[in-house]
């Protein structure tokens, strides 16, 4: 086929472009994915028992996960379109990890090494290990659905950020169950599980997002 033929074809009866509200679709994906993760949490491990709520630690957990969701979402809105620069924002997503690891180290340093084991492992590290990636699955599906409506050109990075946001949504849901109140616990288990989701996302990205 000659390129002129193709140009003829594409420019014949050309429709006006329907601008897709990228932000609207993204918010919808977040809302659906987030509620799905929350319902899954309610249906499996359930809310933390009422008497033992610690609002400070819940707020701290949410501060970590929600800041990741915010940064990641802003980045996804850019990555869904070709040619938008985003190096600064990509680097910024590391900030919540750095802050929580620093805070965790400070908390450890202010206790005797005898207490470290309990602070790091808590009561429930195994449930956390299992639940965060599980709760991240549905948000990840929703985010991939959103991204496929766009045209991401950096598939590994886009997949990684989708995994990161999905992992952070999963961790947000888990925080409402999580009975472990220690900063090192959040740093190690929340941090590692969200990072794991991001690395799985970066592996799946090139397969799921190709166009």
């Amino acid at each position: 086929m000659k390129t002129d033929q193709l140009i003829d074809m594409l420019s014949t009866n050309v429709d006006p472009v329907k601008t897709v509200a990228i932000r609207k679709t993204l918010s919808l994906a977040l809302l659906i994915g987030g509620s799905a993760a929350f319902c899954l949490m309610l249906g499996t491990v359930g809310l933390r028992r009422e008497l033992s709520w610690s609002w400070n630690f819940l707020a701290l957990k949410l501060l970590f996960t929600v800041s990741l969701i915010g940064l990641g979402t802003a980045l996804l809105a850019k990555l869904a379109r070709p040619g938008q620069k985003n190096a600064k924002l990509s680097a910024l997503t590391l900030l919540p990890f750095i802050v929580i690891v620093l805070a965790g180290s400070i908390a450890l340093a202010s206790h005797t090494p005898m207490a470290w084991g309990k602070m790091l492992l808590g009561m429930n590290w195994f449930t956390c290990l299992f639940c965060i990636p599980l709760f991240a699955v549905l948000p990840f599906v929703a985010l991939i659905w959103f991204l496929r409506k766009g045209a991401p050109t950096e598939l590994k990075l886009t997949g990684a950020i989708a995994g990161l946001v999905a992992g952070a949504l999963g961790a947000t849901a888990y925080a409402f169950h999580c009975p472990d109140d220690s900063i090192p616990f959040i740093a190690v288990w929340y941090g590692a599980m969200v990072a794991l989701c991001a690395s799985i996302g970066s592996m799946l990205g090139p397969r799921l997002l190709r166009w």
Binding site: T3, D4, L10, P16, V17, G83, K85, T153
Partner: protein, 187 residues
Amino acid sequence: MDVTSSESELRALMLAASTGDASAYRTLLERLSSQLRAFFKNKLVLMNRGAVEAEDLVQEALFAIHTHRHTYDPSQPFTAWVYAIARYKLVDFLRRTKYSTRNVPVDESEELTARDNYAGVESSLDLDRLLETLTPKVKRVIQYVKLDGLSVSEAANRCGMSESAVKVSVHRGLKSLALQISKEGRP
């Protein structure tokens, strides 16, 4: 035509085209095709690849630009958008034809400024064969609206479909042609 199209010119054409201005869209695609040709030839020559493959990529990129027009944000530079699509299609092409992508320069400041108007080469894409991959209904609609140039309402009459159904079929058909092209692993 020999003057390098500036960002603002191309952007203006794109904005006009997105309101449905067919002649602006044709001019835009013509200019982009010569810039894309120079871009792909320049990259492929380093890897001992020929003009036919460059033409394949020009057409694949034009198709991608067309089916993903909605992802262009008018507040952003237009050439950066085109370049990102061109580079993505190049990397994808090299990967599926099993070439190392290590040699593809990632120079961010690179612009699509060089032009190559030699459009005599035919790509290895065969439109008739591509059309065969569509369902008969969609194929007929594409034939009427995009190849024979019938208006949407005429095509709707002939096919016994509503106008919006014709538009949806055209849209789906072009998307599936674009997908078909990017699936082909041409060695």
